[in-house]
């Protein structure tokens, strides 16, 4: 078994939104950044992987196991972090220890307590008394206390200061050290991923735009700039998305197309720009 997650052609139909044909693989031992603008379908995809909502098509395997038939087995080894805690806010951190021991057969109380100490979380405090950063650490403490081999994070860093985000990256890099642990990290703060992510899956408006090695992802796009007169219909046809301003324009193009237009300034793009311009392009902005 060499993959942590295999997702193939999964889809989900909602009244106002459709997720269709999302396919990607996360090899064991690596970090995958899952990116896309708000509303692209990242949380829906994660919920499909976790079997929290019913899928309308496709297959999902985690650790090589079909995710519905082996739901409990998979979840014993999967740690999840959401953008907000999933506990009763009146519970103390000790209560969480008791609850998790009831749900996870390999729950290690001693590790949980050690993690609370390490993260400087007071066990008698109630969940509602914790700051955003502490809640993230709490969810990580829980994830690490039942020997999770896969960590799934859904927008964990919105609302966190740069120091906390930095600490999280360190934690994730440490987590995958032995090559047996994997991370799926959905975020719209892509500067975090620009550094540590090995793979990127990029979705927009319920569709898969790219999945593969992060370095290759960045290399397949170019940020092109030019003057007003350079924005010919031919150029426009090859732009994924662009923005016009007073003296010219800038936009995103696939690298091979950018080579057709040597008159344009072409440079390596940040992941953010790729997302922003793809979004603009889809929405006719």
């Amino acid at each position: 078994m060499s993959d942590a997650i295999n997702v193939k052609n999964i889809s989900k139909i909602y009244p106002g939104f459709t997720l269709k044909d999302i396919t990607f693989d996360l090899p064991k031992g690596y970090i995958m950044g899952f990116i896309g603008p708000n509303g692209a379908g990242k949380t829906t995809t994660i919920k499909l992987i976790l079997n929290m909502i019913q899928r309308d098509g496709g297959t999902v395997e985690v650790f090589g196991l079909e995710n519905i038939a082996h739901d409990a087995e998979i979840k014993e080894q999967t740690g999840v972090v959401f953008d907000n805690h999933y506990f009763v806010d009146e519970w103390t951190l000790n209560d969480i220890n008791r609850v998790m021991a009831l749900f996870f057969s390999n729950w290690q109380s001693s590790i949980y307590q050690k993690k609370l100490e390490q993260y400087q979380l007071n066990p008698v405090k109630k969940v509602k008394e914790l700051s955003k950063g502490m809640r993230l650490k709490l969810m990580l403490a829980v994830a690490f206390s039942h020997d999770a081999k896969l960590l799934i994070l859904d927008e964990p860093t919105s609302g966190l200061d740069p120091v906390a985000r930095d600490e999280l990256l360190d934690t994730l890099a440490e987590f995958i050290q032995d090559g047996e642990h994997s991370v799926l990290f959905s975020t719209h703060i892509t500067s975090d991923l620009e550094k540590v992510a090995d793979y990127i899956t990029f979705i927009n408006d319920g569709r898969l735009i790219y999945t593969g090695i992060k370095d290759e992802f960045i290399d397949s796009f170019r940020l092109v700039k030019g003057g007003k007169e350079d924005l010919t219909p031919d150029v426009k046809a090859h732009l994924i998305g662009y923005r016009e301003y007073g003296s010219g324009f800038e936009g995103i193009m696939y690298t091979e197309y950018a080579n057709y237009f040597p008159n344009l300034l072409s440079e390596k793009s940040s992941i953010d720009n790729i997302i922003v311009f793809t979004y603009k392009g889809t929405n006719g902005l």
Binding site: L169, D170, A173, I176, K195, V196, A197, D198, K214, D215
Partner: protein, 127 residues
């Protein structure tokens, strides 16, 4: 082993790491038999992707600078390495070809090129 990365230089990260390791091996800072940090340790320390460090080590191994011993890690190969010799030979040929091109543009003939080469060699011996 010392690696310093620049995000602004425009040079791909993996190339920067490769060049810095190579030059440290060639300068002797990294000696034959020295153990390099593991792929994952390096990725964690430099805050980069594990796939990037994998690419660096794979290419360095192909070029004969390091060797990967299964289960033990990556070690620096010394100047006795055949692969390294071959690689450096090709590099020398490339540099000589560049030198000849430059000489032609400057209007120098082959004996002047020989002279310059001998002079440079003397200076290097005296260093």
């Amino acid at each position: 082993m010392k690696i310093t990365l620049s995000n602004l230089s425009g040079i791909p990260i993996y190339e920067q790491i490769k060049d810095q390791i190579k030059s440290q091996i060639l300068s002797g800072e990294l000696k034959e038999g020295d153990k390099l940090p593991s792929l994952r340790e390096l990725a964690r320390d430099l805050r980069i992707s594990v796939l990037t460090t994998t690419r660096v080590y794979t290419e360095l191994e192909k070029e004969g600078f390091i060797t990967n011993i299964q289960g033990r890690g990556c070690y620096v190969l010394g100047e006795g390495s055949e692969l390294l010799k071959e690689h450096m030979l090709r590099e020398m040929e490339r540099n000589l070809s560049d030198a000849l091109k430059a000489a032609k543009i400057a209007g120098l003939d082959i004996s002047e090129v020989h002279q310059a080469l001998d002079l440079m060699n003397e200076e290097k011996q005296n260093e």
